[in-house]
């Protein structure tokens, strides 16, 4: 009886052989039917991308250009298909964004182009593609990654959006400062509604959930930074727009509450070591609006200070906040018309768009900096749970 002696890892060349007729089964099991929340949780980050690349390497090794082309086409179409079907599920979109990027990084790292080989081990250099230059396919994959990124942002926005006004503006966490409501304004939420209200804590928890999902999927750190910057932009823009439309949000105490909330968001960035990703800077207009609610607004010196402080707000935004400003108690006063005129005169020569509200739909351009992997392809094993027994390690 033949004895099955497992091959040693050093005998493998980091390729996966498959029959042409199994290509559909491969993309079906590995892409279309893979559940990020089920089987994929225990996989090494980027495993689907590595498996697909190892299959591609074999097609390249046997010099079968048709097999290379159809595998790439099926892979790309399957990713698009799964995102069309489950594009509203953050985990699915995050999972395929990180795998698409990993696949793209593999195509570069093993392309044979010296600029991408600087960090390769000699063995990784041996594993470069032998016969085909896939530069054009890399461009297509990069286009796909951009599409997936935009989908991720939309998905994240639809989850965050309903929390922002409630958590950043309405919900009050600072004791003592906002016990008195601005005179003449009714409270918008009843105590019953409060139970279902989002708080800043809900927003922070949601940000942590997004972050942890992306980390679990092995998303490139540089890409996570871009997502977080975009999240902060949305939070800042939606909060500021609502402040500019609601008189009950323009008081000294709201300014205090907003500054506290911003400090908590900054603390979250610090905790995740994301202070340098540009996220904090996107909150600058909101920070300045909150400061504007709190500074003195009476003398010419006050006007001068406001004009130099509010350089991230447009004149119409500054004037709107000053007009909406509502005193909370007898120690404060409304902003005088004269003071507002002084501000308008001082800012007359500013070059800016007369826009009042921020565009909450802007998406910053995304980049996918090359991030080679130290993982040795020949050591990769395929878990049985992926149902890919028809692949042969070579």
């Amino acid at each position: 009886r033949p004895v099955n002696i497992p091959r040693r890892e050093k005998d493998f060349q980091g390729m996966l052989e498959y029959k042409k007729e199994d290509e559909l089964k491969l993309v079906k099991n590995l892409i279309l039917e893979l559940k990020p929340r089920g089987v994929a949780v225990n996989l090494i980050p980027g495993l689907p991308a590595y498996i697909l690349f190892m299959c591609l390497r074999h097609a390249d090794y046997v010099n079968d250009d048709q097999k290379v082309r159809t595998l790439l086409t099926s892979t790309i179409n399957s990713i698009k298909k799964i995102l069309k079907k489950r594009g509203d599920d953050f985990e699915t979109v995050s999972f395929w964004l990180s795998n698409t990027c990993r696949f793209l990084h593999c195509l570069k790292q093993y392309s044979g182009d010296e600029s991408f080989m600087k960090h390769n081990t000699p063995k990784q250099n041996d594993h470069c593609l032998s016969n085909f230059d896939l530069a054009e396919y890399r461009q297509v994959l990069s286009d796909l990654a951009i599409q997936i990124y935009q989908q991720l942002i939309k998905c994240m926005e639809s989850i965050l959006q309903p929390m922002i006004v409630s958590g950043m503006l309405e919900h009050e966490t600072i004791q003592g400062v906002s016990g008195v409501k601005p005179t003449g304004l009714r409270k918008r939420t009843s105590s019953i509604a409060d139970e279902g209200t989002y708080t800043l804590e809900s927003i922070l928890r949601q940000l942590s959930a997004f972050h942890s999902t992306m980390c679990q999927h092995g998303t490139d750190p540089e890409l996570i930074k871009q997502v977080v910057k975009q999240q902060f932009y949305i939070i800042g823009a939606v909060t500021l727009n609502n402040l500019l439309l609601r008189k009950d949000m323009c008081s000294w105490s709201k300014g205090m509450q907003i500054r506290y909330n911003v400090s908590q968001l900054e603390e979250w960035l610090r905790d995740k070591s994301l202070m340098l990703c540009g996220a904090k800077e996107t909150l600058e207009p909101l920070i300045q609006a909150a400061q504007l609610l709190q500074v003195k607004k009476k003398t010419d010196e006050d006007a001068e200070a406001i004009c130099s402080m509010c350089n991230s707000l447009s004149t119409s935004q500054i004037v709107k906040v000053l007009n909406l400003y509502t005193p909370v108690n007898e120690f404060e006063e409304r902003v005088s018309v004269t003071f507002i005129r002084t501000i308008q005169t001082r800012l007359r020569d500013r070059c800016e768009t007369p826009q009042l509200l921020m565009d909450t739909k802007i998406i910053y351009p995304v980049t996918f900096p090359f991030n080679p992997s130290s993982l040795a392809l020949e050591t990769i094993q395929i878990p049985g749970s992926l149902n890919l027994a028809f692949l042969t390690r070579v």
Partner: protein, 31 residues
């Protein structure tokens, strides 16, 4: 595998849209 001694052949790629049109995957939406 060894690095090739010959130049690699550039594979021309279709666009994302063209790829979708040549898909071998069944479209669940179609009857």
């Amino acid at each position: 595998s060894r690095p090739p001694s010959h130049p690699r052949v550039l594979l021309k790629a279709p666009t994302l849209q063209e790829m979708e049109e040549m898909s071998i995957l069944e479209d669940e939406e179609s009857p």
